[in-house]
């Protein structure tokens, strides 16, 4: 039986209550929206891309604890990374929350993002955990349309 405490880990609850990098980014040169209308989760991810690297990132919006904490922790994890590094991190994160094996044999590179491992026991919540990441992906590619994981 899946354990609630695995899903709602302290770090997740804490980030959902006090999300980091939660603001509009004045220097943003890329942005994208993620919207899951069935849940009502709705986020905007702001990116300040300098060449190939993420100089700054922020987000705004509202959603469940999982989506909110995921967006918050994502901004911390990808800040300063290159686009390719962020994309690899997303890939690894996706593997984690969908219950797949890690790309390089372990989850080490995920760092704090590993707190989302419990999500894999709750398949209907995968869309919550990945919404901000899909928005980031769209923002990095300069796509305009709103993304959804529903």
């Amino acid at each position: 039986m899946p354990d609630l405490r695995e899903l709602y880990q302290e770090v997740i609850l804490e980030h959902s209550k006090a999300p980091r990098n939660y603001r509009e980014l004045a220097t943003a040169n890329h942005r994208a929206e993620g919207y899951n209308p069935l849940c009502g989760d709705h986020f905007t991810v702001y990116l300040d891309l300098e060449g190939d690297s993420i100089r700054d990132i922020s987000f705004q919006g509202s959603g469940c604890a999982i989506s909110q904490a995921s967006a918050s922790l994502m901004t911390q994890s990808v800040k300063g990374k290159t686009r390719a590094e962020a994309a690899r991190l997303f890939d690894q994160f996706h593997k984690l929350v969908t219950g797949q094996s890690p790309a390089n044999g372990n989850w080490a590179e995920l760092g704090k993002l590993a707190v989302f491992s419990g999500v894999s026991e709750f398949p209907v919540r995968v869309k919550c955990a990945t919404l901000a990441w899909h928005a980031l992906h769209a923002a990095m590619q300069g796509k305009q349309e709103t993304v959804s994981t529903e």
Binding site: M1, P37, L38, C39, G40, S62, A65, R125
Partner: protein, 427 residues
């Protein structure tokens, strides 16, 4: 007594069905629903998602199984025994629905897939014939998407305008505002009898009177009403009434459009095909009479028979008894849930049925739903296919507990305990 009622095993018949207040043994009723014996995640199932779909009593499951095991044949076609028998069962189900709604004639009962298809049928036939550029269709701010989108499609096509009667902060329709919106350009009114997101019971009889004074026909969406209230389409004098079988203990994929025969007769067919014709040549087709004109193709025979069995079951318990039980339960649930710190009820109309929508602190409804699910408690979270209702209240989602005849006070207590657990997790 009909076939379906005869099939009801003696021990599952209610102790006394003489009328309201005659007693309603909920524990006995629960034994009629096999799924309620299931354990979910190691706990007894507490099913509080009845506004989405209701569970099925054994008599409905048996009726469907018996049809496929013994009676299966196509209807209205064969001269053989089984075809005749299946036809009789199908038409008996239609008469059961007729009695359930107190329609004047069985030919006013059209079997469709559900309330959604029924509304689309009316919009695409009555609507396309009678709504033109500059005309208006009037709905309310508490409609389910299924009573919004078909009218939007129609208005878009015709260059007509969709008007929306507003609701109050408690989720009640503002009747005076509704009446003001009825004008010379209004060609049809479509209104829900009971709101799926708020539980509000609309005073549809008053709204129908107001519309009829101006010769405007009214469609009533009864999907959330028929499981909870006695409906009499002749007393209401509504022009169309629609509902889905699966919300009233019947199978999915079957529903009902009631329409006054004069209106149905004047409407063009919805879909073309077999059974809806009386003769076909390549030059001209003569359409069949009511209700068959609107039932193209082989219908959901097993579904109709299952719905008939469900209605017989509800009739056997007595709608007054069911309504009294549910009314008491909703009052208890409202009190119990209101006592939880941080609760905000969405939908506090004076007249309500079946639905308790709420928010808890700033916890997202999906998180509430996931935690309750771990306790074996099934509720609905999200916008309930009523996004304009959410927008009206400035929220994106609610948690919704919705009740049926088999729910108990103990289940309400389980819900309240589950919500304490939610608060603990998010403390």
């Amino acid at each position: 007594m009909t076939t379906a009622a005869k099939r009801l095993p003696r021990e599952s018949r209610p102790a006394d069905v003489r009328g309201a207040g005659a007693g309603f043994d909920v524990e006995k009723v629960r034994r009629d629903f096999p799924i309620l014996r299931r354990r979910i995640r190691g706990r007894a199932l507490v099913y509080l998602d009845n506004a989405a779909t209701s569970q099925k009593p054994q008599v409905v499951i048996d009726a469907i199984r018996q049809y496929y095991e013994r009676d299966n044949a196509n209807i209205h076609r064969g001269v053989h025994f089984l075809s005749e028998h299946a036809t009789e069962e199908y038409e008996a189900a239609r008469r059961t629905v007729q009695g359930f709604l107190n329609a004047a004639d069985a030919s006013e009962i059209i079997f469709v897939r559900g309330a959604t298809e029924a509304i689309n049928l009316v919009a695409q036939t009555y609507g396309r014939t009678n709504v033109h550029a500059g005309d208006e269709v009037l709905i309310t701010a508490m409609e389910h998407h299924s009573n919004i989108v078909p009218w939007q499609i129609l208005c878009e096509e015709k260059g007509a305008r969709l008007r929306v009667a507003p609701i109050s902060d408690s989720g009640e329709l503002l009747l005076q505002e509704f009446e003001k919106l009825l004008g010379p350009r209004t060609k049809i009114v479509a209104v829900t009898h009971v709101s799926n997101a708020l539980g509000t019971i609309n005073a549809v009889h008053l709204m129908i009177e107001m519309a009829h004074r101006r010769n405007i026909p009214v469609l009533v969406d009864g999907a959330q009403a028929v499981p909870h209230l006695k409906v009499d389409v002749q007393v209401l004098d509504c022009d169309f009434y629609v509902f889905s079988g699966h919300k009233v203990y019947g199978p999915t994929g079957i529903g009902v459009l009631y329409g006054k025969s004069a209106l149905l007769d004047a409407m063009p067919p919805y879909q073309g095909g077999g059974d809806m014709i009386s003769s076909v040549t390549f030059e001209k087709t003569i359409y069949n009479k009511l209700p068959y004109k609107f039932e193209a193709g082989t219908p959901h025979v097993a579904g109709a028979i299952g719905l008939g069995a469900a209605i017989e079951y509800v009739n056997g318990l007595g709608m007054d008894n069911i309504a009294a039980h549910e009314h008491e339960l909703l009052a208890y649930a409202t009190d119990t849930v209101s006592a939880i710190p941080g609760i905000r009820l969405i939908g506090t109309a004076r007249e309500k049925a079946g639905v308790l929508s709420f928010l808890l602190d700033s916890i997202h409804p999906h998180d509430i739903g996931t935690i309750l699910d771990q306790e074996g408690i099934a509720i609905r979270t999200g916008h309930h296919c009523a996004q304009p209702v959410m927008q009206r209240f400035g929220i994106s989602a609610t948690a919704r507990a919705s009740f049926a005849l088999y729910n108990t006070r103990e289940e309400v207590d389980a819900l309240a305990e589950g919500m304490q657990k939610v608060r603990e997790v998010f403390a």
